[in-house]
């Protein structure tokens, strides 16, 4: 790690934080649905846009140096740890409440099968076949990546499907969930249910969706954060089991029905 460039990374991070916080919480209205954009959305937009290859000249090249990008990628998980620790303080005071409705938390894990139920028909309709297996098994995080690469290898069409989803999720997942959660709130779903659903299996996506829910319903802050963190923890524990024993068989079953009589699909099924 070149110490010089590392200083630029830190200064840049401080600048981005300052600018994002100064822009602050912005409410925009799209077709009567109000969407709150949090500083975190501006932070990720600014850093992604400034990181475009064409802009990486002169000074930016020092900020977005190979070492700095590698540092951010390799240690992002460590930088996230205080956030995960924060959730402990949100769950603890609500623990009795949460245990009381523990069954609901368990059952809503089944909702994660929605990736197959909603995603697979669309993928087949669009003409995707074996790619669809990789792209709809889950939200394409590390768990699915590992499972697909073990079963089909990453060089296969299934592998390409899951990799594409991984990339899209990495780039746009947090932005998507910070906008999507308030939209569903506008549709009349209860904020408690949306908070429970926030534990989709990615820490940053869960934080984005729970944070934007908090911005919409500040008086429910402690409940939202506690429920979101609990369901995220459950997904970490149960996610693999849901994927291997429920999502994958369901996916194979539906895939066979949807692609009946289709020559290209034979091999995957």
């Amino acid at each position: 790690m070149k110490k010089n460039n590392f200083i630029y990374l830190i200064i840049f991070a401080l600048l981005v934080v300052t600018i994002s916080e100064m822009i602050g919480f912005q409410s925009i209205s799209i077709g009567g649905v109000s969407i709150g954009l949090l500083p975190l959305v501006f932070a990720i937009l600014i850093t992604m846009i400034l990181g475009l290859n064409i802009l990486r000249k002169g000074f930016w090249k020092k900020v977005y140096s190979k070492e700095n990008i590698e540092f951010a990628g390799k240690y992002l998980i460590l930088i996230m740890l205080p956030l995960m620790a924060r959730y402990g303080a949100d769950v603890a005071p609500k623990i009795v409440d949460i245990l009381e409705i523990g069954g609901i938390f368990l059952v809503q894990e089944l909702g994660n099968l929605g990736t197959v139920i909603f995603g697979l028909p669309i993928a087949i309709l669009l003409g995707l076949r074996r790619e669809a297996i990789g792209a709809t098994l889950g939200i394409g995080r590390e768990g699915e990546l590992a499972y697909i690469s073990e079963k089909y290898t990453l060089d296969s069409k299934e592998g390409r499907g899951v990799l594409s989803l991984y990339i899209i999720g990495t780039l746009f997942g947090t932005i998507f969930f910070s906008i999507f959660a308030p939209i569903l709130l506008n549709f009349g779903f209860r904020v408690e249910a949306l908070a429970m659903a926030s534990g989709v299996g990615s820490g940053s996506m869960m934080s984005a969706s729970s944070a934007s829910l908090v911005a919409q319903v500040p008086e429910m802050k402690s409940t939202i954060l506690a429920y979101a963190a609990t369901s995220q923890l459950l997904t970490s524990f149960l996610g693999t089991f849901t994927m291997v024993f429920l999502a994958a068989p369901l996916q194979q079953f539906l895939y066979r029905i949807f692609t009946r009589g289709d020559q290209h699909a034979k091999r995957a099924a």
Binding site: I69, L78, L81, I104, G111
Partner: protein
Amino acid sequence: MQNALRNKYIKYGLIVLISIALILFTQSIKLMKNPDSAPVTWMTIAGLLSLWAFSMIGIFISEKLNSSSVKVLREFPVLGWVSITSLVMCLLSDFFVDAIRAVDFLSITTPILTFAGISVANRLVDLKNTSWKIAVVAIFVFSGTYIGSTMVAELGLYISGK
């Protein structure tokens, strides 16, 4: 070997330290912009130090279990261990709850997403190899898991009369 191990934890410790320093910075900026937001007090500092300590304990547990023979324990993410560590400590003492809650939640998220944005800088070119079809599918996949869980939870809350 012993030396290398110590260095590893020192390195992790410093990075987590950068993280909590950035949180403190963000909370101060937020306070400048909006004087009504969460103040920076000694409790905030205590909270940040608690977050640092729980993170380090979580890292330590995760590293130790890396060689465990139980697959689920070996693969359980370090993020989860940190949450569990913090939950246990917060259940043991209300002091931790009060201290950590003096740290503004949204101030934790902004610096993380800053680093997330920087970390994907080299991934943007990969998008070129991704077909628009998968992008459409991705929207349905992400919506699907969220809507699916929301509907089940909504139903569960309704049935249990909550």
